[in-house]
């Protein structure tokens, strides 16, 4: 029974040892660990003992083929320097300074300060994190975008349209952007197509006009057509909510007069041609 216990104990130690070595964030972390392990006063660090243990750890790291960051080496040098200064007799300096600072003082200050931030970081981690313990509502669920606009949608600004198009480009696979020459569709043609879709569907989502498999040129032509239709005030581009889905529908004026949708198409196509 006793033997088993001691085995368990050494296994646990072994494991703790290994994990800890990899866990050290840096030399300050390692030093704090050594101070705690030895139960020594941080203000009166037995520098020789701590330095020896520090160097032992570096030896272990080397044996385990762990990369020893340069900072560990710098700290080792610092420790050795402090150790040698501690051995010097306490004689006044040449510049006549009455009090000589303890050679360990700066290191202790750094350790204390580091410890404070490490404690602060643990307190941060104990807070209720958004997305871990607490959740807020979010509105960008895809199903929500499918809903048709209801009551008083806001007009969409140009940059929002552009952003939407950037998302389209991101959504449509890059593989479909092969260097095939465009199927020759002009902006004027595409304007006509978009308008005929709108005459049937009344309301079309912006995304629906960009389908996977379209060539890059067609995507661009479609986008330019939408911009052109906006400029000609033939369509209205609206958004159901801030940052929500973008919808296109025929402009009110066009709808009232537009008993003959074909005429509207022609006007759009003609006016758009020079830009295309």
């Amino acid at each position: 029974m006793e033997e088993m216990q001691s085995n368990l104990f050494s296994d646990a130690l072994d494991q703790a040892y290994r994990v800890r070595i990899e866990e050290f964030e840096g030399p300050l972390d390692l030093l704090l660990h050594l101070i705690k392990k030895n139960e020594v006063d941080i203000y009166n660090i037995p520098i020789a003992a701590i330095t020896r243990q520090y160097l032992d750890y570096m030896e272990i790291m080397k044996e385990l083929n762990l990369d020893i960051a340069g900072e560990f080496l710098v700290m080792a040098a610092t420790l050795l320097q402090i150790k040698s200064r501690m051995l010097l007799p306490a004689t006044p300096e040449e510049d006549g300074e009455a009090e000589i600072e303890d050679p360990r003082a700066e290191l202790v200050r750094r350790l204390l300060e580091y410890q404070r931030y490490r404690d602060a970081s643990q307190l941060l981690n104990c807070r209720n994190l958004l997305g871990r313990e607490v959740f807020a509502r979010k509105f960008d669920a895809p199903e929500f975008d499918e809903l048709e606009p209801v009551e008083e949608p806001a007009d969409v600004e140009l940059f929002e349209l552009i952003e939407a198009f950037q998302k389209v480009l991101a959504r449509v696979s890059v593989d479909t952007f092969h260097d095939v020459v465009a199927d020759g569709i002009s902006i004027a043609d595409r304007i006509g197509e978009v308008l005929s879709v709108l005459h049937v569907e009344k309301t079309v989502s912006f995304d629906a006009l960009f389908t996977t498999g379209m060539t890059r040129d067609l995507l661009v032509v479609t986008f330019l057509s939408i911009l052109e239709l906006c400029k000609l005030k033939l369509i209205k581009v609206v958004q159901t909510e801030n940052r929500g889905a973008i919808w296109l529908h025929l402009a009110a004026k066009e709808e009232e007069e537009g008993e003959t949708p074909e005429a509207g198409d022609e006007v759009a196509a003609e006016e758009a041609t020079p830009t295309a």
Partner: protein, 197 residues
């Protein structure tokens, strides 16, 4: 309009607005109401949500008010999208803590305080928008100076930076510092280097 209705209206707006809502913004939306009444409504709502042990709490975060799910139910809510939630490495937390307390701060200062290279972790915290560049320090070499972002406050559920325990409070957890009278750490002399590419 009764106080009760106003509270109900404020609750509707908080519910629909998914970002923290500042009192200024609320006052501009509900311009026909007195600012004092709005504040009173918010205070009452905070208390009501707290008392009734509801599944929703009204918290003050990043300078505004936001409805959030009750922290104790995190385990259940996480099942909705099967995420484990954010997890920070020790180095990320340490760096965030140092920047939060010492901002504006340069990268070299962070590295001096941590004792290790921190370029990688700072870059990744910038990408996650938890840190932000505040400008350049007016010293030779013009190093960039960093601070925490609004997203940092939102993530950690902080009303503002003053809500963090002070370093003094944290210090009280550890024994007193006999060197406290000594000059501050020589951060100014630390050499600056650009972040690794």
């Amino acid at each position: 309009m009764s106080a009760k209705s106003l509270k109900s209206i404020v609750e509707s707006i908080l519910f629909v607005h998914d970002q923290p809502l500042t009192l200024d913004r609320l006052a501009s939306i509900l311009e026909e109401f007195e600012r004092a009444d709005l504040r009173a409504a918010l205070d009452e709502l905070i208390e009501e949500y707290e008392q009734a042990e509801r599944g929703i709490v009204l918290t003050q975060v990043a300078g505004g008010y936001q409805l959030r799910s009750r922290p104790e139910h995190g385990d259940f809510v996480r099942r909705l999208n099967k995420t484990k939630g954010v997890k920070f490495s020790q180095s990320a937390l340490e760096t965030l803590a140092i920047v939060a307390y010492r901002q504006p701060i340069t990268r070299a200062e962070v590295e001096y305080l941590r004792g290790v290279d921190s370029g990688g972790v700072m870059k990744s915290l910038l990408e996650k928008k938890l840190l932000r560049i505040m400008g350049k320090k007016d010293v030779p070499g013009k190093p960039l100076i960093y601070g925490t972002s609004r997203e940092f406050l939102e993530l950690f559920g902080l009303k503002d930076l003053n809500q963090l325990p002070t370093l003094k409070e944290i210090q009280e957890l550890v024994p007193p510092d006999p060197f406290a009278d000594q000059p501050a750490l020589p951060l100014e002399s630390v050499e600056e280097e650009p972040l690794p590419g």
